[in-house]
C-alpha cells in the first residue's frame, strides 16, 4: 500500500460481529481488549498527549525506505456486565516514510493530499502525535444522541509492512507499537 493511497483511506466498521450469540468469541474479544488496554507498547496514549517512541529496529526500517503505517482508531466503548468491547470503530491512517532525495521524512495525513516534510524524525513524529490527538479530540467532541464513552487507539499496522518483514514483525517486540484502547 502506497502512502498516497493510504492517506485518504478511512473506514467505519460496525459491531456486526456481535449480532449472534457467539459468546466464545465475545470472551476472546474481551480477553483481547483487556490485554490491549493494559499492555501499551511503544506508544503511550492519554487524554492529553500521545507519545510515540520508535525502536531502533523500526527506525532502521524507516531509514531504509520502509513506510510505517499508523492507524488511529476511535470507537465507542460498549459494556454488558463485565464484558467490554469496542463498537462502531472509525479509523484513520497516517503513513510515515523517508524521502531519500530530500533526506526528509514525509508524513501523509488524512487531512491533506500532499505529504508534509520534516527534516528530522522527531518532528515528523511530533506532527503525527499532534494530528492523531487532534483526530481523537475531534471524534470525542462529536455530538451524539446519548452519552458515549469514546476509546482511542494508535498503533503501527504491521500488516502493511513489506511482505518479507511481516513474519518477523508478528512476534518481534521491536515492532509492537500499540497504545491499546484508552479512553
Amino acid at each position: 500500500m502506497t502512502p498516497s493511497a493510504s492517506n485518504t483511506r478511512s473506514k467505519v466498521t460496525g459491531n456486526t460481529w456481535l449480532t449472534g450469540p457467539n459468546w466464545p468469541l465475545v470472551l476472546l474479544a474481551f480477553a483481547f481488549l483487556t490485554s490491549s488496554v493494559t499492555q501499551a507498547k511503544g506508544i503511550v496514549l492519554s487524554e492529553l498527549e500521545v507519545d510515540i517512541v520508535l525502536s531502533e529496529e523500526v527506525q532502521s526500517a524507516l531509514d531504509n525506505g520502509v513506510t510505517l503505517n499508523f492507524t488511529a482508531s476511535s470507537a465507542q466503548k460498549r459494556q454488558v456486565l463485565f464484558i467490554t468491547w469496542a463498537g462502531n470503530k472509525k479509523a484513520q491512517q497516517f503513513a510515515l516514510s523517508r524521502h531519500a532525495l530530500s533526506n526528509h521524512y514525509l508524513l501523509h495525513t488524512p487531512f491533506r493530499s500532499a505529504p508534509k516534510s520534516f527534516s528530522s524524525l522527531r518532528r515528523a513524529l511530533d506532527q503525527l502525535e499532534r494530528d492523531s490527538l487532534a483526530l481523537f479530540r475531534q471524534t470525542a467532541a462529536s455530538q451524539t444522541a446519548r452519552p458515549i464513552t469514546w476509546i482511542h487507539r494508535l498503533n503501527l499496522d504491521i500488516y502493511a509492512l513489506p511482505s518479507p518483514m511481516r513474519l518477523q514483525a508478528f512476534w518481534s517486540q521491536d515492532w509492537e507499537l500499540d497504545s491499546g484502547w484508552s479512553s
Binding site: 525506505g65 530530500s102 500488516y159 511482505s163 511481516r166
Partner: protein, 757 residues
Amino acid sequence: MVKLMLRAVIRKITSPAPVIAVCAILLFALTSLIVASLQDDSQGELQYWITLLGIAGIGILVFFLLINIAILARQLWRKELGSRLTTKLVFIFLFLMVIPFSLIYYFSIQFLNKGVDSWFDVRIEQTVKDSLLLSQTALEAIKEDIINDVEVFARTLRQNVPASELLSTLEDFRKLEDFTEVSLFTDDGRVLAFSNENPSQVFPDTPGDEVFTELRLNQTYTLLEPLSPTAQQLRVVAPIPVRELGREFYGLQVIKVLPLRYATLANSVETANKQYAQMVFARGPLKFSLVVMLSLISLVSLLFSMLAAVYLSRRLVQPISNLAAGTQQIAEGDYGSQLPVTSVDELGVLTKSFNNMSRKVLEAQQTAAASQSETEEQKGYFEAVLTNLSSGVFTFDNTRCLQVCNAAAGDILGLEQSELVSHSLDKLIELNPQTAVFFERIQRGMESPHSSWQDEVTLLGQHGRQIIILRGSLSSHRESGNKEHNQTQPSQSGIQQSDTQQGDTHIVVFDDVTNLIQAQRDAAWGEVARRLAHEIKNPLTPIQLSAERIRHKLYDEVGDQQQEMLERSTRTIVQQVESMKDMVNDFSSYAQPVRAQLAPLDLNQLIRDVVELHASVLQNIELSIELASELPLIKANSGALRQVLNNLVINACHAIEGIETPKLRIASAQPNNVAGQYVDVIVEDNGPGIPTDIQESIFDPYVSSKAKGSGLGLAIVKRIVEEHSGSVWTQSGSLGGAVMQIRLPINALQTYRGNRN
C-alpha cells in the same frame, strides 16, 4: 458412555481422511504464505492468519501423530496382532524418510541463504547510491539557480518596492521565472502577498515552523517536496531582513514544480533507491521468513510423512493381521471366518484364498460333523440293538483285545462288562477260570482258517449249567476312534467298548440256548409221550377188558385144562397190559416237565428223609452219610429232587446187590472253585460201576446196565437236575463203583424251562 464417545471421536479423527484434509489445507496455506512472502502487495492480515493456521495445523498434525503413537504403543503393550509388524514398518519408513529429508532440509537452508545473498550485488548497490547522488546533484543545481534568483529578487524587494506594487512585482517575478507560486510572509507567518499560477488558489502554501526557524538564522530554506508519484516541487524560502520595529525579516517563498521529466526521473530514482534499501534491509527478515516457511512446510511434510508411514504400515499390516487373526480363529475351531478384502494386490489375492480355504474348511467341517452325527446315530442305533439283543456280542481287534461287550454278554457269562473290555483273550482266560473254556473256544475259532466259525460250549454258570452256542466271523475294516481318550468308555446304552478299533475285527455272537434245547427236548419228549399215550396206552384198556371178558365168558364153558390155560393167558395179558401201562406212565412222567413251584429246600434234610425212606433196604449196606454243615437252602422242587435221590439210591442199591460188603456213600457239599453258588450231592457205591460202552449215554432214556428196569431212571434224574439248572455226571470214586454227582444252583431261576431273560 463418555468413554465410548471419546473412543469414537478418537477413531474418527485418527482416520486418514481428517489428516489428509488438514495436510491439504496446510500445504495450500503454506504455499500461499510463501507466495505472499515474495509479494509486497499481499494482504498482511491474510498472511498473519495463514501463519497462525499453519502453526495450528502443525499442532493438529502433532496431535494426530501423538494419538497414533499412543494407539500403537497401547497395541504393543496389549500384544495385539500386527502391532509389532506395524511398529517395525513405521520405523523402517521413518528411517528411510528422515535421513534424506534432513539432508534436503539442510541443503535447502544453505541454498536459500546463498540464493538470497546472491540477490544483493555490491555493484548494484553502488549504482543505486550513485544514481541517487546524481539525482541529488542535479536537483541541487536546479535548486541553486532558483536560490540565486530568489535571493536577487529578495534584495530587490528589500530595496525599492513600494507596498502598492508588491503584488504585481511578485506576479511579474513568478511569470518571469516560471514559478508555480511566489509569496511573501512576515516573520510571524502572516501572508503579505502571493501569486499563484492557479488563479483559483485563494491561500498560499504556508511554510512550516521549521522554515521560519531557519529564516531567523538568516539562512535560505530549500526543500524538494514530493506531491505525487509524478509530481515534485522545490520550495525555496529566502529571508529579507528589515529594520522595522517588532519585525526581524520577511520571508520570500518560491515554489516551483519540477518539470514532468525531472519529476518522473527523480521519482524513479527515489523509488528504486527505496525499494533496494528495503530489500537490503529486509534481507534478514526475508531469510527468516523463508526459513520459517521452509521449516513449516518441511515440518508439515515430515509430520504428514510420519502419519502416512503409520497409516500405510497399518494398511499394509491390516490384511496380514486379519489373516493372522483368521488363522488363529480357525486354529481355535472357529471355522468359516471371512476376512474383508481391502485390496486387489497379492495381499487381496491371499485374503481371497484364505476366505476360500476357510469356507471349504467350514464345509468340510460341517460335512464331517454331519457324518459324525450320522455315525453317532448309527452307533447309537447299533448300541441300542446290541443292548436289546438277547445274544451276547463280543468284538475283538486284531490284537485279540476285547473291544465291545454288550450287556447280554455279561449277563450270559455272569461277569461284569467292565472286567472284560480292553482285556486280551489270553487275559480273559486267565482272569475267568470258570468261563475259560468259553474263551478258549473263541480263541480256537479265531485261530481257525475260516472267516466264520461256530461252536457250542457248556458252562456251569451262575445260574447253573448253560449251553452256549457261539458264532464268530472275521470283519475286515478300519475305524479310527477318538484317540484323545484311549480308555474304556461305558456307553449310555450299557455297551462297554474300547475307543480304539483298528484293523481286522472278530465279531463273536453267542447265546445261551440251554432253555431252548430244553424246551425242544421237552416238546419232543412230550410229543412222544402223547403219541405213546394215544397209540399205546389207549388200546391197553380195551385189550385188558377184552381179555378179562374172554376169561369171564369162556371160563365156565371150557374144561379144566383149558380153564387153567385161559386163566394163565388172560392173567398174562392183564399183567403185560399193566406192565405196559406202567411203562407208558413212566415214560409220560419222564416226558412231562416239572411245573411245580420252586421253594427253599434244605437239601441235607431231604437226603436224611430219603435215607430214612429206604432204611429197610439199606440195613445190610455200609452207609456213609457226609452232609456239609451250614449248607445253604436252595430253590428247588422238593418232590422232584426227592425222586432224583430215590432213583439214585435205588440204582446204587441195585448195583451193589450181591456185593460181599456193599457200601454206599451219600454226601452233600458246597464247591469252592466254581463261579456262582452251587451245592453238590454225591451218591457213590462200590458196585461194578458203569460199563465203558454206555458211559457216554448213561443218562439217555432206555440205556441201562441192568437186566431189569425201564432204563428211564437216570434219564429222569438228568431231566430233573437240568430243569433245576443243575448238572449231573458220573465219575470215578474212592469206593471203586459208580459215582453220581449232582450240582445244583442255590438260586435256580423259577422259569427254568422258559426264557432266562
